[in-house]
Symmetry: C2
Subunit: 220 residues, 2 copies
């Protein structure tokens, strides 16, 4: 009997790349990404490169979220910079119910390819304050997933209680190709260094004692 | 202060049309339908007509499920006819995690338009045996929805414990335009009369003591 299969949600960022490396230890991995009109579509290029690096199956599903209100998809809403109190309130970059949508698609994909698990790199320590990143949400969604699918599929969220620096240390041990990842909410040539996502990433690398291999406009 | 808003998942079938009529008693309704490559795309025409009948907002979201294994979307899998023991096992018409995907989109839409509730016409009495139609799934998803959204959104599933004939009796009182609805899994000119959905519908009308206003190939 071969390895069990798992679907891993791969955004192309640091957390999902680390989650992928964790899943690969025990599963045959099918990576799944979403083109949902995010301003930082560049992360999809990163997702592709990470999947190629690991030579795994990679599927990109296009979903129309042009009607959803979020700074990550709506050109009229600016991505906030150098926000104080990151994680203390829900910022405009929150995409309504995004993780639920992605998890639901991942469950559908898992049932279709007969996989047993779905991995997501959600994290509730060094995070932006999104309600769908909290452990209590995942515990509840876990139950819904077990009950609402044919196979009683389980969700795995191994990073949920780790700090960003712990995630990076773990990833470094697993040789995650962080130079291929993209975390910045803006889709520029270099990472901006001032959005929530860049700030949390830079802080994580600093605390972990490693140099972030991607280039930044400022802040590094 | 005006009425609270609710998003209602409207497939175009009997159950969702009745749910819409129930929601309209207390809410300003925004109907949401999905074009997911279903063979019975005709139901989307019904959904449009029902929304026009009630003069409410109606949004159709296209999602690509061409890769999902189901008799409802895959031309290579035949829709079963005159199945015995309907509801006793999960049939090939099950679309993996479909209700979770639809509910997640509905939650995203509800957060975007600042609605307070999401309605779904799921039913676990006269049903096809899909795992994502059972009350225990909705109770779990309810919790995930409350925790995973900004507003702590609630799901309402008023038909869950009703028989098909009870649903029809309720709908008749509310003057639901059943002549506009479409339940058949096949996309023919007339309803086939032999798929699970037709069989359950015909049985429901018979037990409720009403004539089904739609035309059938056989079985009426």
């Amino acid at each position: 009997m071969g390895k069990q299969k798992a679907v891993v949600l791969l955004s192309g960022g640091l957390d999902s790349a680390t989650t992928l490396a964790i899943a690969l230890k025990n599963y045959g991995v099918y990576a799944l990404s979403f083109d949902y009109g995010q301003k930082h579509r560049k992360e999809l290029e990163s997702a592709k490169k990470i999947a190629e690096h690991y030579r795994i199956n990679h599927k990109i599903v296009k979903i129309d979220l042009s009607w959803a209100k979020s700074a990550l998809t709506d050109k009229r809403i600016r991505i906030p910079e150098s926000r104080k109190n990151i994680g203390k309130n829900i910022p405009v970059t929150y995409v309504p119910a995004r993780n639920m949508m992605m998890l639901s698609f991942a469950l559908a994909y898992a049932e279709t390819i007969n996989a047993d698990k779905v991995f997501i790199g959600a994290n509730a320590v060094d995070y932006s304050g999104y309600p769908d990143c909290r452990p209590e949400f995942y515990r509840a969604f876990q139950k819904a997933s077990s009950l609402g699918t044919k196979k009683g599929l389980k969700i795995k969220y191994p990073l949920i209680n780790m700090s960003k620096s712990e995630i990076i240390k773990k990833g470094m041990k697993l040789k995650v190709p962080y130079h291929l990842t993209w975390s910045c909410y803006k889709g520029g040539k270099k990472a901006c260094g001032v959005c929530d996502s860049c700030i949390l990433r830079l802080k994580g690398f600093k605390e972990a004692g490693y140099d972030d291999p991607v280039e930044y406009e400022v802040g590094k």
